[in-house]
Amino acid sequence: MQGTLGYIARRLALAVPVLLAMSVFVFAIIHLTPGDPVRAALGLSYAPTAAATLRHQMGLDQPIVQQYLNWLGNVLRGNLGQDLISHQPLSELLSQRLPVTLELTVLSMGLAVIIAVPLGVAAARHPGGIVDRLLGGITLLGISVPDFVLGTLLILLFAATLNWLPPQDFVPFTQSPSDNLRHLLLPVIALAMAEVAYISQTTRASMLETLNQDYITFLRAKGIPERTVAYKHALRNAAVPVITVIGVQFGTLLGGAIVVENVFSLPGVGKMTVDAVSTRNYPIVQGGVLVIAAIFIAVNLITDILYGVFNPRIREGQR
């Protein structure tokens, strides 16, 4: 147990420099971009004296390291700056945008896992069988059709041609759960497809390895039904690589959500960030990048920790 805690502590300590480096990079977005943020903030009401005052207020006349530390201090206190155009605090914007992105990604991952794990197990139980071949096709499709392309094709088929589902826009879950899910169905499928490919292939490979082990043969010899052997005994031991791939792919999903939100006009963090790039609303870009990267790092950290907890050999190896 102490070993586990020590391992977790070491993983957490390793994440600190990564987070710091990420913060420097995000800070740099404003300071390396061409153009003067003061000029951008003042817009048409630009005047030299007002500019000097604002520059002082924004702390832009201080040394760059001091500016970074001020900014980092603010971020840690939850003050992420404000929208240059609407002057809305970014934390407020994020509280509206983040739930959309999280709902989209979590539902997509959920759907992918529900489809992929049974598919992978079934394919491993009968290699070369119908399910296994079907899985080959799904994999080919999943890795070759990018999520936003699949999204466009789904709109083309289900919204534009068949008129079954709304092509875009978003209804909050609290307003109408059924409408919310109807609007999210296509984007969730678009994002989940590639993950189905990765998770089911990993499940299949891991199950194949596990099903070949002696204790499985022993269970079979004892006369335990094949389904019980596969789902109850083998899957439990084959789960570690699957959990890892789910964690790693969650990051991929976050990246995919940035584009898919734009395909379906979903008001998430990704759409907010991309819209802000074209309007040069840099604090928003900064906030969006910061939040997505922080979630990404956190998910990877959790995956690493779970991996170590399930796999004592990894834990020992790191010592």
């Binding site: 990018p146 392309v149 083309l156 995919g256 940035i258």
Partner: protein, 294 residues
């Protein structure tokens, strides 16, 4: 994009094997099919002006959002431009970004991975931490951030994607260098008095580069996805230069009037990605000593 997705193979070097994919097609058939698609697309892109009689920016108000016909095989877009022509010219951008970003990333990543794996120690530790930090961003997010800083355009896109790829390739190479540097033939060369430079370039590198080149092929597929994704977001090449992603964006508002305007660019992206994926997975299973694909 799926860092983007998209972007699956790129985020991590923990192996995810598509043994099944290659098994279905047969090992060499996957390589042959992939190579055929890639070569065909390259030829089409290079010979664009000979293949199509139209120019990619010539508008025709007589034929706006037209379906496929004898005059316009894929139909026309909202400005009456020939869709087939625009798809063909778009491959130029896709392939420039795919080859450009991967070659640039190899030029930087190979020395880094080779040195880190060969020397180990502090240098290796520092490089690996740096790589962990770069891998702490989803690929498309890093690209968006870099585009915000550097501005838009083909070159910026190539650089942004290469920045994402350098750590991935360096890490793969470092891994195989670690395996190879203790091999008996390297020991033998060292015993014969070969210097470090000679050992690294003549003995270690040629024997450890395979997996890195396979990864590079798969990353080309991923680069095509990222380019299309960024262009879809309006962060890619500037109009009127045609790009598959931007074509999708332009047609997004007319999707019910003009399904062709979305369908053909979608198929073109999928075909290009599929070509590089088949080539990469085929090469990977032929390199795999365990012969896992059979």
């Amino acid at each position: 994009m799926s860092a983007p997705a998209t972007m699956p193979a790129a985020q991590d070097s923990r192996p995810v094997r598509f043994g099944l994919l290659t098994r279905a097609l047969g090992r060499n058939r996957a390589i042959v099919a992939g190579l055929a698609i890639v070569l065909a697309l390259t030829l089409v892109a290079l010979a664009a002006s000979m293949i199509t009689p139209y120019s990619y920016h010539a508008m025709s108000y007589d034929a706006v959002l037209a379906g496929p016909s004898r005059a316009h095989v894929f139909g026309t877009d909202g400005l009456g431009r020939d869709l087939f022509t625009r798809v063909v010219y778009s491959f130029q951008v896709s392939l420039k970004v795919a080859f450009g970003s991967v070659v640039l990333a190899l030029l930087v990543g190979i020395p880094l991975g080779l040195v880190a794996g060969y020397w180990g120690g502090l240098l290796d530790g520092l490089l690996m931490r740096l790589i962990d930090m770069l891998l702490a961003f989803p690929a498309i997010l890093l690209a968006i951030a870099l585009i915000t800083i550097l501005g838009q355009g083909l070159t910026v896109m190539v650089i942004a994607i290469a920045v994402v790829y350098v750590p991935i390739l360096a890490r793969v190479l470092r891994g195989s260098v670690l395996d190879v540097r203790q091999a008996t033939y390297v020991e033998g060369a060292r015993a014969r008095g070969a210097g470090h430079m000679r050992l690294m370039l003549r003995h270690v590198l040629p024997n450890s580069i395979g997996p890195t080149l396979v990864q590079a092929t798969l990353l080309m597929a991923f680069a095509i996805q990222i380019e299309a994704g960024l262009s879809f977001l309006g962060l890619g090449v500037q109009p009127p230069t045609p790009s598959l992603g931007y074509m999708l964006q332009e047609n997004h508002g007319y999707i019910s009037q003009s399904p062709w305007g979305s369908l053909f660019p979608c198929l073109a992206i999928a075909l290009a990605v599929l070509g590089f994926n088949l080539l990469g997975t085929g090469l990977r299973s032929s390199l795999d000593p365990r012969g896992r694909a059979r």
